[in-house]
């Protein structure tokens, strides 16, 4: 009524209200008496159905509109798609689009659905950057190092071993070995793993040069060690360390320091030879001044020998003790024990992560699907509205022709 009042003036509204009243058989205001009379007159001329027609129609209604015998045989009519079927087809189409999107997405992104172990390829430099004097050997070792980097649980790859170099004419080469090892363990196992690193070092006769352990609430935890282990037991030590957690990264390096050792030995030998010569000269000295001079020189040479012996010990220690840097990191979610199982099977944690990832991908695909379908749906709605309008106009064209 309010809308009607917006378009019609008060007189018109009053007339329409009076019309409704008259149609209901109610009394109308005197000024609308002619309207009531018009209603009566128009109703008087209302077409009436014949009794015969009404009787026939009554019977058909009672019988539920059975097919009429005299009705012309209608040509078989193709079933019209119902709205429900259209909606059903639309839903199926949308589902198909989403399913295809999910499959495509998963096809492009398989990795997150499987447990994976991040392996740092940094192991390669151990082979690609060999010690200068062992280039040939290191080059041959490169495939082994690469293979080791691709399998975190693989056995310890043999480090470049010292070899005999006929050109140097020495029986034994001196090699300085070093290694780095990054372990990942559950956050609540960082401390116990750090303790295990120390115990493993003790077992091989090594020492802990430096250590730093950071474990606390709300942090994944981390422990760093600078270890020295006998070079002959480096592989044994690395194998022991690798069993303590999931190996995220491992590198080994070998540097030939034979030249440095030989140089130190030669320097020491020279100093000792000089001392022997000075002692012999001292035994043959005739004058006091000559004796004093030789003794002063001997003091210098003895000090020199002491320095050179220390230098030789130092350089030999580099070959005797390998340096191992071990880092133990707690994994981020603190779910104890899951990291170690990554390489062994598909755990409940993996399933939860995969399920989350699947839902994430499905939601993304749904959004993409809707983005593609919604414009089509809008177009379909516009087309349906236009079609309805056209059909209505076409029907009413017959009305205009009368």
């Amino acid at each position: 009524m309010s809308l009607r009042r917006n378009r019609l003036d008060d007189t018109a509204v009053a007339e329409l209200d009076a019309l409704d009243a008259a149609l209901r058989g109610e009394a109308v205001a005197p000024e609308h008496a002619d309207l009531a009379m018009l209603v009566a007159d128009v109703r008087d001329v209302a077409p009436q159905a014949t009794p015969a027609f009404l009787a026939e129609l009554d019977a058909r209604v009672r019988e539920g509109f059975p097919p009429r015998d005299d009705a012309p045989a209608a040509a078989p009519r193709a079933p019209r798609p119902r709205r429900r079927l259209l909606f059903g087809g639309g839903a199926i189409a949308v589902s198909a689009v989403i399913a295809v999107a999910v499959v495509v997405s998963l096809g492009d992104d398989q990795a997150p659905l499987t447990s994976e172990t991040v392996v740092n390829e940094a192991a390669a430099p151990a082979a690609s950057a060999p010690a200068p004097s062992t280039a040939g050997r290191a080059g041959a070792a490169a495939p082994e190092a690469a293979a080791d980097s691709s399998e975190s649980s693989a056995a310890v790859a043999p480090a470049p071993a010292p070899t005999e170099d006929p050109a140097l004419g020495r029986e034994r080469r001196s090699v300085e070995r070093s290694a780095t090892l990054d372990l990942t363990v559950p956050a609540d196992e960082v401390q116990s793993t750090a303790d295990a690193v120390v115990r493993a070092t003790d077992r091989v006769g090594g020492i802990v040069q430096t250590s730093s352990i950071n474990v606390g609430e709300g942090t994944p935890g981390e422990a760093r060690f600078e270890l020295r282990v006998p070079s002959g037991k480096l592989d044994e030590a690395l194998a022991a360390y690798s069993k303590l957690g999931s190996v995220a990264n491992r590198t080994q390096d070998a540097q030939d320091i034979t030249s440095a050792v030989v140089s130190a030995e030669d320097l020491l030998s020279d100093a000792r030879a000089e001392r022997r010569g000075l002692l012999r000269a001292l035994g043959q000295a005739d004058t006091r001044r000559e004796v004093e001079s030789l003794r002063a020189r001997l003091r210098i040479v003895r000090a020199d020998i002491a320095r050179r012996e220390a230098a030789l010990r130092s350089v030999r220690a580099r070959a005797d003790l390998a340096t191992v840097a071990v880092t133990v990191r707690g994994d981020g979610d603190g779910s104890g024990g899951s990291s170690g199982a990554d390489d062994e099977g598909w755990s409940v944690g993996d399933a939860a992560r995969d399920a989350g990832r699947l839902l994430e991908v499905a939601a993304g695909a749904l959004i993409v699907g809707l983005a593609a379908v919604l414009p089509l749906l809008a177009l379909a709605l516009v087309a349906a509205g236009t079609a309805r309008y056209v059909v209505r106009r076409r029907r009413e064209r017959g009305l205009d022709a009368t």
Binding site: L3, R4, N6, R7, L8, A12, E15, L16, L19, D20, L23, D34, M37, L38, V39, D41, V42, R43, D44, V45, A46, P47, Q48, A49, T50, F53, L54, E56, L57, R60, V61, R62, G64, F65, R392, R394, R395, E396, R397, G398, L399, D400, A401, T402
Partner: protein, 167 residues
């Protein structure tokens, strides 16, 4: 509201006369009006499960079906016939003078309606014969309620003018 499947017979009883009058006014052909009326009820009966009370009354739904059937019939025929039905007498009126006066008025109304356009004549039929309210009128015609009121008032004004002219 009672679903049409349960109350179809009641709907039929309540609407059959009005529906025939409306269809007859549109088609101006008794035989065609009977066919279309029967067809409209049959369609309504077969589609009664699809009636949605949220979209309007049963009466408006039924008249919408009848309107489509009648318009299809008009379009199919492509022609019209003259209004030739016999107006029933008024048995309650025994006074010859009164009878004559009312007959004269009916004749005026018949001529006036003949002079109306088809759309106005349809509005008059829906309102005066079928007794639809403006909301039902709007639903049948596919327009807004305010627009239906405006159209109806316009048609009614034309009818009154036509009656005055023929008086």
């Amino acid at each position: 509201m009672e679903p049409p499947s349960a109350g179809f017979d009641a709907l039929y009883r309540a609407c059959v006369g009005d529906l025939f009058a409306y269809v007859r006014t549109l088609l101006r052909d008794d035989a065609a009006a009977e066919d279309v009326t029967a067809l409209a009820f049959e369609r309504a009966y077969r589609r009664r499960e699809r009636y949605d009370a949220a979209k309007g009354t049963q009466r408006a739904w039924l008249f919408g079906i009848a309107r489509n059937a009648a318009l299809d019939e008009l379009r199919k025929r492509g022609r019209t016939t003259a209004l030739e039905h016999d107006v029933p007498g008024d048995p309650a009126v025994d006074d010859p003078l009164v009878h004559a006066e009312r007959s004269a008025r009916r004749a005026q109304v018949r001529v006036a309606m003949e002079r109306l356009g088809a759309r106005d004549r349809e509005l008059i039929a829906l309102k005066f014969f079928a007794g639809l309210d403006n909301a039902e009128l709007a639903e049948v015609l596919g327009v807004s309620e305010s627009n239906a009121g405006t159209k109806l008032h316009r048609a009614m004004t034309k009818l009154r003018s036509a009656c005055d002219v023929t008086a």
